[in-house]
């Protein structure tokens, strides 16, 4: 038990050495670490509670996604049946209770209508599962009900797109190293270190940035529009900055040009004065459409609609053919800039709301690091002193093991690029406390064996052997608790669990194997007949 072959010694020391080396970058200044090759940048990230910054949890409404899909389906059905050949007349279209239903006017066309709709409802997935179920009720009414699998798929892809769009938007803001992760089915976590004021970020992520250009319905009766009624083919939209004073305006339903045809958007100023505006540029198809619409509708007002609200409705003074245009609408420089960023990064497929927000100021973060570091040093010193007065030489071995353990934990965290949070520091301090537990178990066992009259070598061998089993079992149960924390915990709990689990794994190794190596070296070179323990 006390004999180690050369290879075993190497097998013990090598991982410790690697662990220690990996901890080194965490102590180096930023500039030095940046010059290291990528595989050597094993550095512990600081959590937001230590570095300061903002954490946002955004949630997408799955109902919104479902609603939107149904609206799209309605549009597709209208197009397919009314514009297709032969034309099938339908009426009483309604989407209630999450399903779409409509009546086919000519009963003999019901089967043909179902045939034409079917291809629209096929899922895109490989499973061949339908996205919608089509049913005929009362012989003339067709209902289209979305399937759960269809909704789930739609939410999933919407979330993927949303995550991408958010990443683009945050990158455009020029913040450093944001973390953007999907969480669960319909949430996205955004963490931006160093960001002090998340208001701009929230405003940016809060807008869907769905941009549409529609013609204003000038035939509408203003009195009716004020009551929310619009002529057929038109709709009433809010218009907060309407110069005429009315908070609403009637526009034609048909979307002339949409934000999807944009290639660029920049904040700028209007030609007349210094009013902030957003300059946009269309792609080829968008530019052509825009040119066509503006040529055909000179001297008519054109509504610019963002997220269902009319920003402005300027008159078309002349055809706009160059493929670029301006969006005006009582902006500030900041809000114009935000809109430009939002338009450049594309629209969010679903509206997001902030359900959790945490912001930590840089001062508090720095204070926490300082306090945590000081506490850790004092804790290590206190424990080390206590171990030394209790176990003498063996205490020093245990202390050496703890010191190496601390570095190895940092090293492993660095390799995993794990994040150190404030509770993580607490986990560290606790690990220091419990890491020596293994040594205490062993040493107390050696003391016991000595009392029973065994000789030095036998006592040490027995002490390590008997205690190892106990240590193993105790740590397995401890790891169960840690694993559950990691799996179920959020935020601080997780940060704590990571350190705890790594600490359990490394401390067993350093406290048992490494100290055994040290003890055996000493016993073999000194051949003591009595030990002070």
């Amino acid at each position: 038990m006390l004999n180690f072959s050369r290879w075993t010694v190497a097998a013990i020391l090598l991982p410790l050495l690697i662990g220690i080396l990996c901890s080194v970058p965490s102590f180096l200044p930023d500039s030095t670490v940046e010059r290291l090759p990528a595989f050597m940048r094993t550095r512990v990230n600081l959590g937001l509670d230590l570095s300061g910054g903002s954490h946002l949890l955004l949630e997408a409404s799955t109902q919104d996604v479902a609603k939107q899909r149904l609206a799209n389906m309605e549009e597709q059905v209208r197009t397919e049946l009314r514009r297709g050949d032969p034309r099938i007349a339908i009426g009483d279209i309604s989407s209630r209770d999450g399903r779409l239903s409509f009546m086919v006017r000519d009963p003999s066309q019901v089967d043909a209508a179902v045939e034409r709709i079917r291809p629209l409802t096929q899922g895109a997935g490989l499973t061949g599962q339908r996205d919608f179920n089509v049913e005929v009720v009362n012989s003339t009414t067709i209902t289209i009900t979305p399937t759960q699998a269809g909704i789930d798929n739609a939410v999933k892809s919407a979330m993927e797109v949303a995550t991408e769009v958010i990443r683009k938007r945050i990158d455009e803001m020029g913040t450093r190293e944001p973390t953007i992760q999907q969480q669960g089915g319909n949430r996205i976590v955004v963490q931006v270190p160093g960001l002090q004021d998340p208001r701009a970020l929230k405003a940016l992520l809060g807008q869907t940035a769905k941009l549409e250009f529609k013609l204003v319905d000038t035939t509408a009766n203003p009195a009716e529009v004020a009551q929310g009624r619009a002529p057929v083919g038109s709709e009433v939209l809010p218009y907060p900055a309407n110069p005429s004073g009315s908070p609403v305006i009637a526009v034609q339903r048909q979307v002339m040009v949409s934000g999807e045809d944009l290639t660029d958007a920049q904040q700028g100023f209007s030609e007349q004065g210094n009013e902030p505006i957003v300059n946009i540029r269309f792609n080829g198809a968008g530019g052509r459409k825009f040119g066509q619409v503006t040529s055909q509708n000179v001297n008519k007002p054109f509504a610019i609609i963002l997220d269902g609200k009319v920003l402005s409705a300027p008159n078309i003074n002349e055809p706009i053919l160059g493929g670029s245009a301006q969006i005006s609408g009582s902006f500030t420089v900041e809000s114009a800039n935000q809109l430009a960023i939002a338009l450049r990064s594309g629209k969010l497929p679903v509206a997001l709301t902030v359900v959790e927000e945490r912001t930590v100021g840089p001062q508090l973060g720095a204070d926490s690091i300082k306090a945590g570091l000081l506490a850790s040093i004092i804790a290590v010193a206190a424990v080390a002193a206590f171990m030394f007065v209790s176990y003498g030489r063996f205490g020093i071995y245990a202390n050496l093991a703890v010191a190496i353990n601390v570095l190895v934990i940092l090293g492993v965290m660095g390799m995993l690029n794990a994040t150190l949070t404030l509770p993580g520091i607490a986990g560290f301090v606790l690990t220091i406390g419990t890491a020596v537990d293994a040594n205490v178990l062993i040493y107390e066992r050696i003391r016991e064996e000595r009392r029973r009259g065994r000789n030095v070598v036998q006592s040490i061998e027995h002490g390590y052997k008997e205690a190892s089993r106990t240590i193993f079992e105790a740590n397995v149960t401890h790891a169960i608790a840690g694993g559950i924390m990691l799996a179920l915990g959020s935020g601080p709990v997780k940060g704590f669990a990571i350190v705890l689990l790594i600490g359990i794994a490394t401390s067993v190794f350093t406290a048992v194997t490494f100290t055994r190596l040290l003890v055996s070296r000493w016993v073999r070179t000194h051949r003591p007949t009595e030990i002070h323990i």
Partner: protein, 328 residues
């Protein structure tokens, strides 16, 4: 050099004899803790009830009453204020605005910032959290689930590894530790947030660690002294492991003590919970879980039966060559 020994050699305390007193005391304290939790309730942080938490740092020490007047004037709902850490820091908790989502909570933070800055120049918000009711509900659910799963998982582990009596005694002792911690938070009204859930889970982990060591020794002695009376055997095992129990508790308390005094105010509740848990956990290992084994009727015969069932490798490891003649 004379080495420190917190527990003298050959200590022999009759823990088992004391068990009825210990059970009575434990039961009383647990009832008090549960009563306090139910009656006074926990001071749940925004993590668990949802809302807005602002930590305001002032240039000079302030009276919370003055800050309260400013906040009350805003008309943003019932606030609760607390001195936090040093006298210059005040934690303000406000309900979330009912409508308006992110924009509305921003507006509240902004309003508070302006009003406080007008009254107390140089005030900064060093931290603020907003948690919606929906998320906080999930956080509670996950927290409770995590603690319950951990306790049950560990009880099952020790049931499979040893006898069922060990599983039950561990379960009871750990529930005791958890309830005592909750009671502590109810009585002190320290804020109970997500960090504290981590602390509770750590207490569970530590406490089980402690019990495993004693249980393991009991098992070992059961095989060693087959004829020994169960009460004497448990006393022997607890006494044999007592030096380690005390040593480890003291080292961990030393480390946590450093964190409590120097680790900054954010972690204070967390560390306090942990220190209490270590003390309670040590107490329950020594007085509750081992003595409970007798009440549950653990006998060496039961151990024999189980031992024949566990796999051969485990037996070989446990029953390995042993020379017990050395004991006087």
């Amino acid at each position: 050099m004379k080495l420190l020994k917190l527990v003298p050699d050959n200590t022999n305390i009759g823990f088992v004899k004391l068990r009825h007193w210990a059970f009575a005391l434990t039961a009383l304290l647990t009832v008090l803790a549960v009563g306090a939790t139910l009656y006074k309730g926990l001071n749940l942080g925004v993590d668990f009830v949802g809302g807005l938490m602002i930590e305001a740092k002032f240039q000079e020490p302030v009276q919370t009453d003055k800050v309260r007047t400013v906040i009350d004037r805003l008309g943003v709902g019932d606030g609760s204020l607390q001195q936090f850490g040093d006298p210059k820091t005040v934690q303000i908790r406000l309900p979330l605005p009912e409508q308006g989502g992110a924009g509305a909570s921003n507006a509240v933070v902004e309003k508070a910032r302006k009003a406080l800055a007008a009254e107390f120049p140089g005030v900064t918000f060093s931290r603020y959290d907003t948690v919606s009711g929906k998320v906080s509900g999930e956080l509670i659910q996950n927290g409770v689930l995590a603690v319950m799963l951990a306790v049950i998982g560990i009880a099952i582990f020790s049931w499979f590894r040893y006898e069922w009596q060990f599983g039950i005694s561990t379960f009871v002792a750990i529930m005791h530790d958890v309830l005592m911690t909750l009671g502590f938070f109810a009585i002190t009204q320290l804020e109970f947030d997500l960090n504290i859930v981590a602390a509770v889970l750590t207490i569970v982990g530590y406490s089980i660690n402690d019990k495993m060591v004693i249980d393991d020794r009991i098992r070992e002695n059961m095989r060693k002294y087959r004829k020994m009376d169960m009460k004497a055997l448990i006393d022997l095992s607890v006494n044999e492991t007592l030096p380690r129990t005390v040593m480890t508790s003291v080292t961990v308390l030393l480390a946590l003590g450093a964190l409590l005094l120097l680790g900054g105010h954010v972690l204070r509740g967390f560390t306090a919970a942990m220190m209490l848990g270590i003390i309670v956990g040590t107490y329950s290992s020594v007085y509750v879980s081992s003595s409970l084994l007798i009440t549950l009727g653990l006998s060496p015969a039961a151990a024999e039966k189980k031992a024949s069932k566990v796999n051969i490798a485990a037996q070989a490891e446990r029953m390995g060559p042993r020379d017990d003649g050395a004991r006087p």
